[in-house]
């Protein structure tokens, strides 16, 4: 059972990471900065629980807020540019964050043990959960409550004007601006929201794995973060959820029985999915099919 709970944990923070990229993708921006916010959340909340012995909840909260503030500040310069330029600029940002943590050494003794981030040696002993007697299902419960809240909020977003505005910007920036939408500030707010979610995810990650180092927060993870909404489809937030289950659950964990060939199949399957579903797994037809099946189509649309 422990194993499946463990996988649920992993799925949980990847879903949140995917959501943070999803919000920005709605506005048409492909950002690889999410992993930077994820790292900030991980280190900030880890430092708070380990070095300052905070309770987990305020630590997660502050971690998320710190990442959100950073996203807000980076959003100002970064979101003036778009497309491929933004991809590169956000890679630059994520790498700067990663390298700062690579150089960060902040250790002192707590209860006779020297703890804290130690540069390339990583940041060990983020054992709040285990040390405070949290059973794994409780951790999973915490993570998935966050995921559920985020999912509901993002689903709700599509029912209200704010969501329509995000998608309008993604569809045609010039027309959106001429229709009276302050595109830049909307994008910055989206970036900040994405930052908060990624920071939260990072905090949960750090405490679930008990150890973080800069090698975790590479461009590879950033690529995964944008892959989830792209593979899942931008039509609905459930696309991202489905893609995380598909990629992390099925391709990475579920195919273990394939042994050596699992990782090769991974790339091949992504290519296959994109050829048959270029708009992602959960595309228009999928949504239509589901909603017709549930006979909810009247309520869902509009």
């Amino acid at each position: 059972m422990e194993y499946y709970f463990g996988i649920l944990q992993t799925l949980g923070f990847h879903v949140l990471l995917g959501y943070s990229a999803y919000i920005l993708l709605l506005t048409g921006q492909l950002s690889l900065a999410q992993v930077g916010f994820f790292a900030i959340g991980a280190y900030a909340s880890g430092i708070l629980t380990v070095l300052f012995e905070w309770h987990i909840f305020p630590a997660l909260f502050i971690g998320a807020i710190a990442a959100g503030c950073m996203a807000f500040m980076v959003g100002f310069p970064a979101l003036r540019i778009k497309g491929l330029m933004l991809v590169i600029a956000t890679i630059a940002f994520s790498e700067i964050v990663r390298l700062i943590f690579f150089n960060l050494r902040w250790r002192f003794e707590i209860n006779g043990l020297e703890v804290g981030p130690d540069g390339a040696q990583g940041f060990r002993e983020i054992r709040y959960f285990a040390a405070n007697g949290w059973e794994i299902y409780e951790i999973v419960w915490l993570i998935w409550t966050m995921v559920a809240v985020a999912t509901i909020l993002l689903w709700w977003l599509d029912q209200i004007k704010a969501g329509a505005i995000l998608r309008a910007i993604g569809s045609d920036e010039l027309a959106a601006e001429s229709s009276g939408i302050n595109v830049t500030s909307v994008k910055i707010v989206a970036m900040a929201c994405g930052g908060v979610i990624a920071g939260l995810s990072g905090g949960l990650y750090a405490h679930s794995t008990t150890y973080v180092d800069h090698n975790t927060f590479t461009v590879l993870l950033a690529t995964f973060a944008v892959s989830y909404p792209l593979v899942g489809g931008l039509k609905s937030v459930f696309g991202t959820l489905a893609a995380v289950i598909f990629i992390q659950g099925i391709l990475i964990e579920g195919l273990r029985f394939l042994g050596d060939y699992r990782t090769i199949l991974f790339g091949a399957l992504i290519i296959l999915v994109m050829n048959f579903k270029p708009k992602g797994i959960v595309d228009e037809n999928f949504v239509k099919g589901i909603s017709e099946y549930l006979r909810l189509n009247k309520k869902l649309i509009k």
Binding site: R80, M85, I88, E95, L99, V219, T263, G267, N275
Partner: protein, 297 residues
């Protein structure tokens, strides 16, 4: 250690020479971007894969190892066509993100196939014969022979590609397809054929770049893929999207700055400064050095 002006200039020379590899990869990205307005993330991976295949074929057939430098580009070109077929050909052209994601899938696939076949261990790569031994001393400054060779090759490649784009029928067709796809189709041009040729051409260039990069390092390893992808993209973007000249200059500059910051600030902080500079550059000059101003009404 005291850093003298000689050290500074020497490190910039080293960096710029090494930057010619970034420039070559950048040119490949630029070619594909110019043709389709799309990003092929698998490009650096297929370049390295081309070099691996060249090395493998020469080893299996016990050919002269220098044949690698002809086989690598050829296989690189073929892999380019393959990537085009699986990631771009059948995905509707307006689905930019779909083919982007597919090419990321191809990056993982190629990377993992290489890892699987070689167990990820670095392999000795044939050096560039006399060039690798050559080390020119001009006054107090040293120049690596093989990297000068790489630089010359990348300049030649740039010239021949520009000639090809502006002087040949293929070039005319390629430019027509990239600018006015529908009009080109009406003129009887098959855009898929033209795009496939562009991917082949870029692939050949990539295979060459992969071989030269591996030869310059002396070993080939899947670890080369990610840095080359990122550095190549940076060169493409700083140079200005679609500008071949820009990609070359940006690649060289990138190498120079890297080397300079390494000397002055050490390896742990080197990339912080490089990326900070990159970030600021993009913010203040979002169209790159030679990019046309895009996105008007």
């Amino acid at each position: 250690m005291v850093i003298t002006s000689v050290d500074v200039i020497q490190s910039i020379i080293d960096g710029i020479l090494y930057g010619s590899i970034y420039a070559l990869i950048g040119v490949g990205f630029t070619l594909i971007f110019g043709a389709m307005q799309k990003l092929n993330m698998a490009y650096a991976a297929s370049s390295i894969a081309g070099a691996y295949c060249g090395l493998g074929i020469s080893a299996v057939l016990s050919l002269n190892l220098l044949v690698t430098f002809f086989l690598g580009p050829l296989v690189g070109g073929l892999i380019g066509i393959l990537v085009y077929l699986v990631c771009f050909r059948f995905i509707p052209s307006r689905e930019h993100l779909g083919s982007l994601m597919a090419s990321i899938g191809a990056l993982f696939l190629i990377d993992e196939i290489i890892v699987h076949e070689t167990d990820g261990s670095p392999l000795n790569f044939p050096e560039l014969g006399i060039f690798s031994e050559a080390y020119f001393l001009v006054g107090e400054f040293g120049f690596r022979g093989d990297l000068i060779f790489v630089l010359i090759v990348s300049l030649l490649a740039m010239t021949s590609i520009i000639l090809m784009l502006y002087r040949t029928k293929y070039g005319l067709a390629a430019r027509a397809v990239s600018q006015q796809m529908n009009a080109a189709i009406l003129c009887g041009i098959n855009p898929h054929k033209v795009n496939a040729s562009t991917f082949f051409l870029a692939g050949v260039l990539g295979g060459l770049a992969g071989c030269l990069a591996a030869a310059a390092v002396g070993v080939i390893s899947p670890l080369l893929i990610l840095p080359l992808t990122i550095k190549g993209l940076i060169a493409t973007v700083i140079g200005g999207l679609g500008s071949i000249k820009g990609a070359i200059i940006a690649g060289l500059l990138l190498g120079g700055f890297e080397s300079l910051f390494l000397l002055v600030r050490g390896v742990n902080e080197r990339d912080i400064y490089v990326f900070l500079l990159l970030f600021l550059f993009l913010v203040f000059k979002p169209n790159g050095m030679f990019g046309s101003i895009i996105d008007r009404d």
